[in-house]
Structure formats: C-alpha cells, structure tokens
Symmetry: C2
Subunit: 137 residues, 2 copies
DNA sequence: CGCAATCCGTAGCCATTGCTACATTTTAGA
DNA sequence: TCTAAAATGTAGCAATGGCTACGGATTGCG
C-alpha cells in the first residue's frame, strides 16, 4: 500500500520490501514486453513468462494494481498505468544496459540473459553509469 | 528440507526457493565473516549485521541448521558445518570478485559494496569467469 | 552469591509468493 | 444459439521472513 520503502540499513535492504519491489519491477517489465510483442498482456501470458501458476500472477497483479502500477478489469487484458509505464521504461533500459554489458565483458548471450535478469535489480545508479561508460568507451 | 531446488524455467528461477537460497548464502557468509573478525558468531551479531530482529535470525538459523549448513545449541555461538564452510568459502570468494570487479570498472567503494551484496547471488559461473578475466587482463 | 543486564527462545501476528482445487466468465465453434 | 474449451477468479493451504511481546538462560559485577 505504501509508496515508500522503509529505510533500513543501506547494504542490507534486501528485505521483504525490497523483494516485493523486485517483483513489481519484473512484472511491469514483463507487461511492457508482452504488450510490445503481442499487443496485449494476459494473466496466462505472465504465468508462462514467469513459469508460475495463473493464481500467483492474479494475486500479484491485484497488488500492483493497488500500487497504481497496473490496471486491469476481470477477464480483461492487463495494462500499465502512467506510473507503471514510467517504471517499466526505466527497468527495461537498465536491463538492456546490464545485458549488453555482460555480453561486452565476454559472457555468452544465453548466460548473459539469465544473469542479467537477477542482477538488474541490484544495479544502482553509480554502477549503471559505470556500465554505460564501459559500453561507450 | 530438500537439498535440491526444484528445476523451474531457467531465466526465472527467482522464486521462493531461490530467495531462500540467497538467504542461506548471505547467512553462511556473514557467519564466516563474523567468526573471522571476532572469534565467534552470536545471534545478535547477525541481527545487527542484517538489521533485523534477533527473532528473524533465530528462525533462519534453525532452518539452516536443518539444512546442515550451521550448527548451534541454545544460547551458544553459531558455527558452520563443513558443508556450510564450503558454501561460505565459495560465496565469499565470489563476493570478493564481484566487489573488486565493480571497483575496477569505476564504481566507488561505497556503492560497489552495496551493489555487490545484491549482485553476487545472481552471478553465474560464466559471468564470474568473465569478471575474473577482466580483473586479470 | 545473587541480582541485573544481556542474550536468546517461543508464541503468535502479518505480508508475500508459491500451490491445488474448484467456480465463474468469455469466447469460439458446431 | 448453445455448449465446450480456455481464461480468469476465489478459497484455502504452506513456506519464508518480517515484527512485538514476553519469558527463560547466561553472564558479569557488586
């Protein structure tokens, strides 16, 4: 329900809050990707994407709707709110930088794709900037 | 209880299982660090380290004891089992590589420390090898 | 020794994210 | 149209990891 994550110690913000934020990032990113590719985003598509049951997706979509990141009506496609679209844009760009970066340092495409999925959520602004510099240089 | 994480789709293994594994990695690493620094590892030290309550630590220690990673008796210091020590060694080495790597690409120490904490769990063997190559080259 | 402070365990609550089973709504085809 | 399949929702369970409150164990100090 809250907009802001409670400030904990800086290094170990890997708490429940943080994990929920990662989920939010993954979901808005996936929704944006799926809409970009197929025109609309369905619960079952997300379920396939994340390899979880449609029930899990359904509940998370509900939560993200409360957080004003998504919008959906029963039995209808899922859409991003402006807030969600903004987040998705940021997340997708960051993800792309991380993926390109891993490939640039010599990781094969397959493993770069796998690891970038997990790494992206932990890349802060400074690290992201360093990766961009590396890619440009 | 299980040794093996159930195999899901490769990219999105970021499930509850995976998260629990991250916790295990963080804890054995922290226990090893604390023992190395102060000779013994207490519940409250872990609680301070992760900035959580001692109750949370206590329950997780119990779980990791069931998984044969830790060993502790009530009101006694926490120790690593051989299995836990092996994991800790691997995790600490990987963490160090990630930290050194981030610094090498130009991230300041403070942010490198923060981000490496989160990134380390998602660095696969291929990415780790690429980081090592970069550090050597 | 004994008591107070500190440390740790237990009880019991909540949120998140998995699941299966079953109910309901849409949609498409006969 | 009308019915069956596909999609989605709901109910209810488990595991993990947050928490406060409270109680028992250890330890150290007067």
């Amino acid at each position: 329900m809250e907009e802001k994550t409670k400030a904990r110690s800086i290094p170990f913000a890997r708490t429940r809050d943080h994990h929920a934020n990662e989920t939010a990032e993954d979901y808005v990113e996936a929704v944006a990707d799926i809409i970009a590719k197929s025109g609309e985003c369905r619960v079952l598509e997300l379920a396939r994407h994340f390899n979880v049951s449609h029930v899990t997706v359904s509940r998370i979509v509900k939560r993200l709707q409360n957080e004003r990141l998504l919008h959906s009506q029963p039995y209808r496609p899922i859409e991003l709110t402006p807030k969600g679209a903004t987040l998705a844009k940021r997340v997708r760009e960051r993800h792309q930088v991380v993926l390109d970066f891993l490939i640039a340092i010599g990781v094969d495409k397959r493993n770069a794709e796998i690891d970038s999925e997990g790494i992206e959520h932990h890349v802060g602004l400074k690290t992201l900037a360093a990766m961009k510099r590396f890619l440009k240089g």
